[in-house]
């Protein structure tokens, strides 16, 4: 009885702990990345974005990705990778108008991925 209760409490604690940590961690990481993308968007809109700016965003994403793989499906991460590569290469070639739409998609993805981990009826069902 005591052993079972302890095992229930441990399992429950682990599950609650992991889910809270996951929610906070993902939300924070994507909010941070989203802020970086918005800054890049503003620079791109002003046509002042440089290769270094784009590279800084990529390095930051690559760093976040390392821990993100534990929590987020790898397909979601490769989706961000794909749009980021397209956007950054367009900035590199100074095609700012086209790069804007790619960065906009990325900002949208960064909003949607964390919301898919929140407790809501649509996510449960």
């Amino acid at each position: 009885m005591v052993k079972t209760l302890i095992s229930i409490l441990i399992a429950l604690g682990l599950l609650i702990g992991i889910s809270i940590f996951q929610m906070i961690h993902i939300e924070r990481e994507f909010a941070d990345f989203s802020a970086q993308l918005e800054a890049l968007y503003d620079k791109t809109e002003a046509q002042t974005a440089t290769r270094e700016d784009a590279e800084a965003v990529r390095v930051s994403w690559n760093e976040k990705k390392k821990t993100m793989h534990i929590w987020v499906p790898h397909t979601d991460i490769s989706y961000v990778d794909y749009w980021l590569s397209e956007g950054l290469s367009l900035i590199d070639t100074k095609q700012y108008d086209q790069a804007l739409s790619k960065i906009e998609v990325l900002i949208d993805i960064c909003r949607k991925i964390p919301s898919s981990y929140s407790f809501s009826v649509e996510n449960v069902l």
Partner: protein
């Protein structure tokens, strides 16, 4: 053996995806082993309904993240730990809360008692007389008249209390002639006797229609087990024609 290991590990080194699957499999295997060990011996032996559900789910939960490397391994582990948590809660209910235990695990059903077959219990468990006969044979009893009591446990296993000296009575395999109000033409042919023989048997017992009979069996010595719907069983002997035996 050593060569096989060399080939295996060198292929792992070349194909990273294969190595990933190998590592993921090891992690899931160790997690499952740990969880099954924590669940206790009951999980390995005869299973209760909730244990069976868990075993089915765990197998599926373990396979998906193991083989699909796009899914984080943590998803599989969290699902398995959740199943473990539910299992432990249900185990506690099973041990300490009798009304809920019956709701979750079910109750044993006594399908044969001193009055014969309990047709209500049979129907309740979605079984018919032939299923019951099969269970009896599996348990080593070939005749309905060999057992005093028989029951299906909550786990689905079959238990029976035999009559004293039942082994001496089991000299011939009884054939089911009427099952649930219907004649079994195949078994009637096997007895080598006409249908009118059985109609006469029913008439002598005061039964006008065979539809009213739940079960009628006949063995090679002429022993008949007869039970009408809603009535007690009757066991008697009839004289079989010369040369008829099996």
């Amino acid at each position: 053996m050593g060569l096989l290991f060399c080939i295996f590990f060198s292929s792992l080194a070349k194909d990273k995806r294969m190595a990933l699957i190998f590592i993921r499999t090891v992690i899931i295997y160790v997690t499952l082993l740990l969880i099954m060990r924590l669940m206790g011996k009951r999980q390995i032996g005869e299973m209760q309904p909730f244990e069976f559900v868990i075993t089915l789910l765990i197998a599926e939960l373990a396979c998906i993240p193991m083989a699909d490397i796009s899914i984080p391994l943590l998803y599989g582990i969290v699902a398995i730990v959740s199943i473990y948590l539910l299992h432990q809660i249900v185990c506690l209910i099973d041990l300490y809360c009798k009304p809920l235990k019956y709701l979750i695990s079910g109750k044993p059903s006594v399908v044969i008692n001193r009055n014969g077959i309990d047709e209500y219990q049979l129907k309740k468990n979605s079984l018919d007389v032939s299923d019951l006969m099969e269970s009896l044979r599996t348990a080593g009893y070939f005749s309905l008249s060999s057992v005093e009591y028989a029951l299906y446990e909550a786990s689905g296993s079959f238990s029976a209390l035999p009559k004293a000296g039942y082994e001496e009575e089991q000299t011939s395999v009884p054939l089911v002639i009427i099952d649930g109000g219907e004649y079994d033409e195949k078994n009637i042919k096997l007895t080598g006797m006409p249908l009118s023989f059985f109609e006469n048997v029913l008439k002598k017992q005061g039964i006008k229609k065979h539809k009213k009979v739940l079960v009628l069996t006949l063995d090679g010595t002429g022993k008949i087990y007869l039970q009408e719907y809603g009535k007690k069983r009757v066991i008697f002997n009839v004289q079989l024609p010369e040369g008829v035996a099996w």
